[in-house]
Amino acid sequence: MPPREKLNDSLILGEQSYKTINDKISNIVLNQNKHGIPWFICFVVGFGLLQLLGLAIMWLLYRGIGIWGPNNPVMWGWDIINFVWWIGIGHAGTLISAILLLLKQSWRNSINRFAEAMTLFAVSCAGLYPLLHTGRPYLGYWMFPYPNILGMSPQFRSPLLWDVFAISTYALVSLIFWFVGLVPDLATIRDRSKNPFFRYLFGALAMGWRGATSHWYRYESAYIILAGLSTPLVLSVHSIVSLDFAVSNLPGWHVTIFPPYFVAGAVYAGFAMVLTLAIPVRSWYKLKDFITMRHIDWMAKVMLATGLIVFYGYLCEAFFSWYSGNIFERDMLRFRAFGPYGWAYWSLIFCNGVAIQILWFPKVRQNLVVLFLLSQIVSVGMWLERFVIISVSLTRDFLPSSWGYYTPTMWDIMMFVGTIGQFTFLMFGFIRVLPMVNSFEMKELLYRLKGRGHHGHGHVAHATAGAHGDDSTAGHPAAEGEEN
């Protein structure tokens, strides 16, 4: 298959050997002086905003959730909007790590670690909102069915309870998947580190990984099983989140298209966030050889494809509300477009429907500045989508007597900005202390690229001259194969 080979060739650029891959990736962790001004700024800003989150939560716990904007009839506002937004952002990570692994897409290798971390941190931000919305987060364990002295069991017919299970499962499986994938790389860092503290820390985390064939054998089995477990989660989590709305009877919520359309929206928002982070980070840390323009191009294409699905969802919603002949559904369409939140609806159509059309042009997909800005627009668009769904339906339900308007308070805004801070803080903390690119999978990819004997293709051909990796890859098929 010549075209595919050609694409594979450009997944690693430059003259690479196992050693240079190891150096480039693990030195980001090992050589702490490598982290310059950009890292510092992002980390400090993230840390500062995290303090804002702490403040907002403390005041919330002291005064109760009355400090937030929700009112009657808008019983949940920014808290559910931001919850859905963050959960959505996490989805790209699981998609890249699980589904693309099962589909044997080798372009996932340089971005999966990074995207999985993003998933975890986004879920940690998302989880805060429903927990705090209960008003008594210290009683959050009441949401789980356990033998209790109240004699109460959770309401299994409520989609809010399905959320609890969907998201806790998702967070747990993602965490295990991420950690298992990290183990061989942690061993690499342990072996290369001169700093005794790092050697102990990464030695403990690597759990005695020696790179033996038996280790690799078990590792591969475990990883595939975990990928299989995660795959349904990519679809189930956001489907269940969408059922929070779709199961109710409210016009604009009570639609069967919600689950697929939410899942597509989640992947769409997730890829936008991966691009938002990958574009600056690859240039700050000189990772352009690993996260190549080919990667960026494909991520942009996935974003375009999922964005079109989302836009198709908007069209379907509009069509069905007209086609239903139901006065409430038809009015919902009218209120969305021309009601008090019309500005949000049209901005949403611009962000998710119009703006992304420029991704059809290859030149745009190669222009990092435009792509970076477009990712921001997509993130805003996906936020607006949830805002429109929630605000319009709740403020315009069946009875005109219960119509209202919703505005957030400063505490809503502080919470949201605070979770962005938490995400940034965790993300840049992660970049500093853990290998953000999967170095052993990159080495395996390098082996596969050059092992096929197509020496004529690209720079990768030169890589054969390199030395072996270090001890931790000794038993790996990639390393062994080189001796044949």
């Binding site: 033998p147 109240l150 004699g151 072996d191 050697r199 102990y200 005695g208």
Partner: protein, 244 residues
């Protein structure tokens, strides 16, 4: 390269795997055991009171009816903690010089109520009404334990919600004849050797603060009583019955 960890860490590593599984389970079990233990619930633990009042003496030995002191138990939500005057109706005549009763006399002199330590509390969000329960023939001891045997009063039951619900879901297991409710203590007084020869097994269990399983005939009788009282069993375990 030298080994980072000596061989002893192998054991630690394996142990840590066991702990990851056993640890959370152990923590959860410990937490739930502590929350259910008398250390937390104070069941069976007498608390400090301004006067070491003995229910055993006043009820069993002297035969004073519960309602003499807890006068509103049939009429209001609260059973009534007796005012100083109730105590003084006797203690202005007897034990007038007892040092143990000095706080009582001081309370009477200075017209300030005694500060008893409350033993039985329901959460603020629970609306409990004594009169409705007493008027459906629920004996005091069902909730409060063998009060007539207590030298120093203690909490008889933990008041967990599941415990409330046990009765609210199957009230026929507990309802009794309204008329015979307070006669039980007279009967108990006559058999003060705790053998209680002249009582039914259910009454004996009540007097001793024990659990009792009703026979099918007794359950049938319970159901008849529910009908007589007009208790709507179906809605008795709804949230709003207690949480209003």
């Amino acid at each position: 390269m030298a080994q980072i960890f000596h061989s002893g860490f192998n054991t630690l590593a394996k142990l840590s795997l066991v702990l990851v599984v056993v640890g959370p389970v152990a923590i959860i079990c410990t937490a739930s055991a502590i929350s259910r233990s008398p250390h937390n619930t104070k069941v069976g633990a007498p608390q400090d009171q301004p006067i070491p009042f003995s229910h055993e003496h006043h009820v069993n030995e002297l035969g004073i009816d519960c309602r003499y002191c807890h006068s509103n138990v049939e009429k209001s939500a609260h059973a009534t903690v007796p005012p100083t005057e109730t105590c003084m109706s006797c203690h202005s005549q007897i034990w007038t010089n007892s040092p143990l009763l000095e706080p009582l006399r001081e309370s009477y002199r200075t017209n300030t109520p005694l500060k008893w330590t409350q033993l039985n509390k329901v959460p603020e969000f629970v609306y409990f009404n004594h009169s409705i329960h007493v008027n459906r023939g629920l004996n005091c001891n069902i909730c409060h334990g063998p009060v007539q045997q207590m030298q120093l009063a203690y909490k008889g039951k933990a008041f967990f919600m599941i415990w409330c619900l046990n009765c609210h879901r199957e009230p026929e297991k507990y309802v009794n004849d309204r008329e015979k409710l307070f006669q039980l203590y007279e009967k108990g007084q006559k058999g003060a050797d705790k053998d209680y020869g002249n009582v039914t097994p259910e009454e004996r269990a009540l007097l001793n603060g024990e659990e009792y399983q009703r026979s099918p005939e007794e359950l049938e009788r319970g159901k008849q009583l529910l009908e007589k009282y007009g208790v709507k069993k179906k809605q008795l375990a709804d949230c709003w019955i207690c949480h209003r």
